[in-house]
């Protein structure tokens, strides 16, 4: 098992390194920050001096070389915008997004299990079809639409919730709502699919013939079989929030890593873009390893080679 983890980590590191090189090159292709940091009417000399000061006028392989050397000393550079170390900017913003994800996923999973089981219990009944439809609606709603409509109804019109920002629990309601809809819908469909598959399989029919109640079958067999796909898909959704909550964070002024990275791209703050991308990628890799291990523990069929 330990060997498996180590091997996965090693693979991840290689992938991470490649990924990092890619980010490095791509980010630098977005343009010269000089245009954005100097006043609009700056002259070409000023822009050249600015580039030279940041080492951006060197050929890209030299820049990369210096970057790798800095990396080995754990120096990720300073934020062009704020003047503080880029990694601290990223590490400051990341927990806020992670916290959102940690609140959203359990809620989504719980709701999904409820809706999914309702849909699977009697798939062709009215209740079943309604639940299925509900799951589909949740899947199809864009997160930014929920966010904006939520602000319109609950903040502007009703005044129940604050419009944006961070603070007490009221500030969490709308962002969580916006982010939870799609994972709930997707997971509900996964739960439904897995449970239906179990409930209509031959061995279940045999158990029913033997007189075991449907409820017992649902809870003991169908649920258990649904667990694994839920974990896999849930993990993907979690990763999706970590890397993709940009839009919700923008609407609600939530200072998470998505917004930070987006802002840094717009501001050509290369160091922060790299640091943020690294933080997100590493956390997703770790998450994947964690999910794989959890999956393996729960599925007796899998063993580690």
């Amino acid at each position: 098992m330990a060997a498996y983890i180590l091997r996965r980590l090693a693979y991840s590191l290689i992938t991470l390194a490649l990924f990092f090189a890619l980010i490095f090159v791509l980010v630098r292709m977005t343009g010269n920050p000089a245009d954005l940091y100097l006043p609009l009417n700056s002259t070409q000399e000023m822009r050249d001096a600015f580039s030279a000061r940041l080492g951006l006028d060197q050929p890209i392989y030299i820049q990369f070389g210096r970057f790798v050397l800095d990396l080995l000393r754990l120096d990720f550079g300073d934020s062009l915008v704020r003047g503080i170390p880029a990694m601290s900017v990223a590490l400051n913003a990341f927990p806020r997004t992670a916290a959102l994800a940690l609140v959203v996923m359990p809620i989504a999973a719980t709701l999904a299990i409820m809706i999914g089981s309702a849909a699977a219990y009697r798939p062709n009944s009215i209740a079943g079809r309604t639940a299925t439809l509900g799951a589909l609606v949740a899947t199809a709603v864009p997160d930014f639409w929920i966010g904006i409509m939520g602000v319109l109804w609950f903040s502007v019109m009703l005044g129940w919730l604050p419009t944006s920002g961070t603070g007490g629990w009221q500030y969490w309601v709308l962002p969580v709502l916006a982010l939870a809809a799609r994972p709930t819908g997707i997971l509900a469909q996964v739960v439904r699919g897995a449970m239906v598959q179990t409930l209509t399989s031959p061995y279940i029919k045999a158990a029913r013939a033997k007189g075991i109640s449907k409820q017992a079958l649902v809870f003991r067999h169908a649920f258990r079989n649904a667990t694994l796909p839920v974990i896999t898909v849930g993990g993907e959704q979690f990763a999706g929030i970590l890397s993709g909550a940009i839009v919700v964070e923008t609407i609600f002024g939530w200072p998470g890593i998505g917004k930070t990275m987006m802002d840094s791209i717009l501001q050509r703050d290369f160091a922060v873009v790299q640091a943020s991308a690294l933080v997100i990628a590493s956390s997703i890799f770790l998450l994947n390893i964690f999910i794989d291990i959890l999956y393996a523990r729960l599925d007796p069929r899998i063993s580690f080679k």
Partner: protein, 509 residues
């Protein structure tokens, strides 16, 4: 594995939950800005920074009245010109910085030289002190001497943009915790969340009513407006016209003010392409734009039609230049006349718009394009983000590019047209698409003049540009709207886009 994750996870949740504490006292206010400032360095000139610092944390040597442009005492109580290359300033007594150090000539000189230090790349130096070399020294305890290479007739005006920072400020790095002499001292900056300033009890001037101000930021104008409506904020900047309800204006919650900025379409006259090379077509463009309609749609009726690219209160504004009438018939006639002479008036003209230059930028260009298409031109719009727009700006006259006009919002807060002519119309100006000897020579000559001579010279250049050259289509003086909660009242000035003087805010009892 499970146990080891609990601690970091709960820490993460805790950190995320420890958000903004609500402001307790009644004399505290919340100001919501469109964006987070990039820094709080006093020598920077970006409006997002100056909104927070200027006149609140940092003060200049010379005060400038935003309405009349007259200069008066600031941290300097008097000044004289000494020959052609020097000025002397007497420093106000009894002023201290927020860290307790005293304001004297030495401190002022240090701060000035720091601002002008090229290695530090201060925005104020780059924007307002170009074309000359400056150095400051303390002649005695309270007198500062500033020496220049060449004559600078308007040095005091330039200095009104430069805030003095304490000697303790680093001379090699930009500062994130500014120390100035203003009525408010910097307390904290929680990145991504808010900035707090507290009233400075030892301020030399009149004590302001507001005891504490917290700045937050939201990208959406609708959210900013909603925050004032719900009481989450007291002052919201840059509220778009559609977010202002009629009752907001009636109750005085929404107040608009003219910016020292004009939105315009810039023509390319370096290597002009058809049909904009023909002056009749350029006139036609100007005649085809319904400027009042533009103001009504884009600025909710706040703002006024323009025929110069700077506001009428600027020195150099020529009253004898006629306002452009909205005359689509005449525009069509001119275009047909040009067509008859063989000018390719059907060539496609691209308007390169700039996203975010003001609220509703895209709609404004779509509106203009529709107006121009109405009179027979072939116009389409391409909206660009700032970086791309700058790229096109600098290369808009390279071979292979289409006939184009650039959407620009030109800002001139100084009240002196030289700060427009130089960047916008001279051969070396960064925004210039004009190579005209008359302009180059006359602008250079005007730099050395002062008083009525200067004004006359500048007006002559305006007249030439806007009646004989027609290098652009000035559309309207831009306006901005801010929203105020019931707790405060504030009279904005034309400088309020860049300077929110908290000391001028009155708390309603």
């Amino acid at each position: 594995m499970r146990n080891r994750l609990i601690l970091p996870i709960s820490l993460a949740v805790f950190m995320a939950c420890a958000g903004t504490a609500p402001l307790a006292a009644d004399d505290s206010i919340v100001v919501v800005l469109p964006e987070e400032p990039q820094s709080l360095e006093l020598c920077e000139s970006g409006s997002s920074i100056r909104r927070v610092t200027q006149h609140n944390v940092g003060e200049p040597l010379v005060q400038r009245d935003p309405d009349t442009q007259t200069l008066s005492e600031g941290l300097a109580v008097s000044w004289t010109q000494d020959g052609d290359t020097a000025w002397q300033f007497d420093i106000r007594e009894g002023v201290s910085f927020h860290d307790g150090s005293a304001l004297d000539a030495e401190a002022v000189a240090t701060s000035l030289n720091r601002t002008w230090n090229e290695d530090l790349a201060c925005g104020v130096a780059q924007q307002y002190f170009q074309g000359n070399t400056y150095s400051a020294s303390a002649v005695d305890t309270m007198t500062v001497r500033i020496e220049t290479d060449t004559l600078d007739a308007i040095l005091p005006l330039r200095l009104s943009f430069l805030a003095i920072s304490a000697p303790a400020t680093s001379t090699t790095e930009k500062s994130a915790a500014p120390i100035g002499t203003g009525p408010y001292s910097f307390t904290e900056w929680v990145r991504g969340e808010h900035i707090t300033l507290d009233r400075f009890e030892d301020y030399w001037g009149e004590a302001p009513q507001v005891a504490q101000v917290q700045y937050q930021w939201r990208q959406e104008s609708a959210i900013r407006a909603a925050m004032v409506q719900t009481g989450e904020a007291d002052l919201a900047l840059s509220v778009a016209s559609q977010d202002v309800l009629p009752e907001d204006r009636d109750t005085g919650r929404a107040v608009s003010f003219a910016l020292p900025a004009v939105t315009l379409l810039r023509f390319d006259l370096v290597d002009p392409l058809e049909p904009l090379n023909d002056i009749r077509v350029r006139r036609a463009v100007n005649l085809a734009i319904d400027r009042q309609g533009f103001v009504d749609v884009v600025f909710d009726g706040q703002g006024s039609p323009a025929n110069h690219v700077f506001s009428p209160s600027t020195i150099g504004y020529d009253e004898t230049v006629p306002q452009w009438e909205y005359d689509p018939e005449e525009a069509r006639r001119l275009i047909e006349e040009a067509r008859a002479d063989g000018v390719a008036v059907d060539n496609e003209i691209v308007i390169f718009g700039r996203l975010g230059v003001y609220e509703n930028a895209t709609e404004s260009m779509e509106l203009v394009a529709a107006m121009l298409n109405e009179v027979g031109l072939n116009v389409r719009v391409e909206m660009l983000a700032l970086q791309a727009w700058l790229g096109v700006l600098r290369s808009s006259y390279e071979p292979g590019r289409p006939t184009n006009m650039m959407q620009q919002s030109h800002e001139n807060v100084t009240g002196d047209a030289v700060f427009t002519f130089n960047p916008q119309y001279t051969a070396s100006g960064p925004f210039s698409a004009l190579r005209d000897d008359f302009v180059n020579e006359h602008v250079a000559a005007a730099q050395g003049l002062s008083g009525e001579e200067r004004a006359e010279a500048l007006r002559e250049i305006s007249h030439y540009l806007y009646t004989e050259v027609i290098p652009d289509a000035p559309i309207a003086v831009t306006s901005s709207t801010m929203m105020l909660s019931d707790a405060i009242s504030y009279d904005p000035t034309p400088a309020s886009f860049e300077e929110i003087v908290i000391g001028d805010i009155v708390l309603t009892p």
